[in-house]
């Protein structure tokens, strides 16, 4: 065990994976000698050589296409997209190729070894193009795993889980936690399961659900509501796709109320899917409408970022409204 921030935990996960399996490769823009613009791949080139950790030319569609080919060949590519906002040129390679590779070939070929890492989310004064949370764009794509960790311990365990999972995985890293979130991280190999939500706190009045950096926001909000005497059950979804409907439904069957929060705009965001599925599953048990606390239905702003983001105050109010409905 060592105290690490999230970047260190990710770096440590990559190091662990590369040490364990020589077919694990890390690449992307500035990933090589520089160690990535956030330094998630620091020292990996020095340690494992230029063949296994390297800079690519500046072309996201190429990075993912290259990674798809490598994975089909049997390697374990871990491709970095410098910011999740820049993943869209690779959208076709991900949605039409990675996701459908196994299915269309009748399992003759697959890209199960593929992992794509990308820093995502707001809170770092990044404006339109260094703040987006694109998870919902990918969550409409059967064949993909979409995973988001909330802290260093989770980041390492889920990233190792992603690299070793036999399906292609998008791993979105909440970049505002990169240095802000610290905690104890086990040495060596451990994997956390994909597709499983985690109940972080049990409660009886309302279920509060999120992922990634929103878990911190939820914690703050829940702290406030507890002072008001409201008992919250807190769930970290962790995997957006496939998502753990069982755990969420079980919780809502108990609490009768659900508040979901994410940074992405509300319309078409993944909270919509959850709300739709849970109202269907828990219809007779719901005591108030399922509520979504999200970014506005706009591009991501800069100066008024604070106003835009679903912060703890907004989540707090939503919890209260849900309970007081």
């Amino acid at each position: 065990m060592a105290e690490m921030n999230m970047l260190q935990a990710i770096n440590n996960a990559l190091d662990t994976a590369m040490a364990a399996n020589e077919r694990v490769l890390c690449f992307g823009e500035d990933v090589g000698v520089f160690g990535g613009v956030f330094r998630a791949t620091s020292n990996l080139q020095q340690k494992y050589g230029r063949d296994r950790c390297f800079n690519t030319p500046l072309v996201e569609q190429g990075i993912v296409g290259f990674a798809n080919g490598l994975a089909a060949q049997g390697s374990y590519p871990v491709a970095e997209i410098q910011f999740a906002d820049y993943i869209f040129p690779a959208f076709d390679q991900i949605v039409n190729e990675s996701a459908k590779f196994r299915y269309r070939s009748g399992n003759l070929f697959d890209v199960g070894g593929l992992t794509i890492r990308a820093p995502y989310g707001g809170g770092i004064a990044g404006g339109l193009y260094h703040s987006q949370s694109p998870e919902a764009y990918f969550a409409h794509t059967p064949g993909l795993n979409v995973v988001v960790p909330r802290n260093p311990h989770q980041a390492k365990g889920l990233l190792l889980g992603a690299i070793n999972d036999p399906n292609p995985t998008l791993f979105f890293e909440p970049k505002r936690l990169y240095r802000a979130s610290t905690g104890e991280v086990p040495d060596g190999e451990y994997q956390l399961p994909l597709g499983k939500a985690e109940v972080l706190k049990e409660g009886t009045d309302v279920t509060v659900l999120g992922w990634g950096a929103q878990m911190e926001v939820i914690d703050k909000a829940v702290e406030m509501t507890e002072k008001d005497g409201i008992s919250c059950e807190v769930i970290d979804l962790r995997s957006i796709l496939p998502w753990d409907r069982e755990t969420v439904a079980a919780s809502v069957l108990k609490t009768g109320r659900l508040v979901i929060t994410h940074e992405a705009p509300m319309t078409g965001g993944f909270a919509g899917e959850i709300a739709a599925a849970i109202q269907e599953r828990c219809f007779l048990y719901l005591e108030s409408p399922i509520t979504r606390v999200t970014g506005l239905d706009t591009p991501f702003p800069l100066v008024l970022e604070k106003e835009h983001l679903p912060n703890h105050l907004k989540v707090y109010e939503a919890i209260r409204e849900s309970v007081e409905f």
């Binding site: 072309v59 798809n68 080919g69 040129p89 590779f101 070939s105 009748g106 070929f109 064949g143 496939p242």
Partner: protein
């Protein structure tokens, strides 16, 4: 960086590349004789006959299956007609374990590697023996046994994938390479640029084989690019490049053999532009009469790559008219017989709807499937293909 020496000029001279047109490599004339300065590659009789056999197989298969499509037996088909030399000549120059990543018009490569007529048919009819489990349209073949990546319809996506695949081969050190086929139309996609540039930078053992057949559906090359074809782009990436007469089996073979050496021995990727022509329609859904002339087609019919090879074989007495006749007949028969069998086979099982999305079926999808089965059980007549599968419960 940016410090490499380059010469200096003192007035603003522009180049559009036209002063260095890339020449075309040829060996074989249409009558089967060699150009005066040409030297045939080292092709023995068995290999030459294997190639020729694959070419004829491809042609016969294409003719029969187009006819079957016209009769309504098949929903869709695409012919390789006119491009058999470009495809088969290049595949033949490789090791049989090199990886092939094709676009969709390269059934000749599969025929050469030994994909059986039965295997073709099962895919074309999407029956229970189709490796692809009836999920993709006809001609989307794949074979892991033959190192032939399953075809994917989105164009050019396979190009950057080939770069990655070849990088993996280099890392594995198994002395293999990847050949990737694409049309001159697909070469306009961003993935072409990505794949070739990355291949040159990362020095992968890949051969980029462009079939320049004059058209992308109805779009002629003059509306596809303004330069001297696809080849000069290779030099732009610092990649070894060659242009070859794509209807010339010997030139294609020799160029690919040399390319493979560069790729495998020196990790130098190669771009080959094979100049050829799509003699047939783009697909069974297309009618080219609206966008090109009979004259143009006739010119290219007179350059038929299969005839050209046949004349060469005959000159060497490696092939005879009677063998030709026998082969054509037996192939036709085999295609027709096998088609009948394949068409009769049942569709893939209902489960094939939900397997292979992930390595295991996720719970939510399993639940959707249960609901579907129950639904089909209530309405068996509406789902004749699969009702039998769900009778008597899960």
């Amino acid at each position: 960086m940016t410090t490499r020496k380059s010469s200096t000029v003192y007035s603003p001279v522009f180049t559009d590349g036209s002063e260095h047109r890339i020449p075309t490599f040829k060996l074989l004339k249409q009558d089967g004789s060699l150009y005066k300065n040409g030297r045939a590659p080292d092709l023995d009789k068995a290999e030459a006959r294997r190639i020729y056999h694959a070419m004829v197989t491809t042609r016969v298969l294409d003719e029969r299956m187009l006819a079957a499509q016209r009769q309504g037996r098949l929903s869709f088909y695409m012919q390789c007609t006119g491009e058999e030399a470009a495809v088969i000549g290049s595949t033949a120059a490789l090791s049989d374990t090199d990886m092939i990543m094709a676009q969709y018009r390269e059934q000749g490569a599969l025929a050469y590697r030994g994909f059986t007529i039965d295997e073709f048919m099962n895919q074309l009819f999407g029956n229970d023996r189709d490796y692809g489990k009836g999920r993709q349209m006809p001609v989307h073949y794949g074979s892991d046994r033959l190192h032939y990546m399953t075809i994917s319809s989105p164009l050019a996506t396979q190009i950057s994938q080939a770069t990655g695949y070849a990088y993996g081969q280099k890392m594995a050190g198994d002395g293999a390479c990847t050949i990737v086929y694409f049309g001159e139309g697909a070469a306009s996609e961003g993935d072409f640029h990505a794949g070739l540039n990355m291949a040159a930078v990362h020095r992968v053992p890949a051969i980029f084989m462009c079939r320049n057949n004059g058209y992308a559906i109805s779009t002629p090359v003059v509306e596809q690019y303004a330069g001297d074809g696809i080849a000069p782009r290779g030099s732009g990436y610092g990649m070894d490049t060659i242009r070859v007469d794509g209807n010339d089996i010997l030139a294609v073979y020799q160029a690919t053999e040399a390319a493979r050496r560069l790729a495998v021995e020196d990790n130098r990727p190669v771009l080959i532009e094979a100049m050829t022509y799509r003699l047939a329609a783009h697909s069974s859904s297309d009618d080219p009469s609206g966008y090109r002339s009979k004259d143009e087609e006739a010119t290219w019919h007179s350059k038929d790559p299969i005839l050209r090879m046949k004349y060469w074989l005959e000159e060497r007495e490696w092939w005879s008219e009677s063998e030709e006749k026998a082969l054509q007949e037996s192939l036709r028969r085999e295609v027709l017989d096998t088609m009948k069998q394949a068409q009769k086979r049942p569709p893939p099982p209902l489960e094939s709807l939900i397997t292979d999305v992930y390595d295991e079926v996720p719970p939510a999808l399993d639940e959707q499937f249960d609901r579907l089965k129950a639904h089909i059980r209530r309405h068996p007549d509406a789902y004749p293909k699969s009702a039998a599968h769900v009778q008597g419960g899960e």
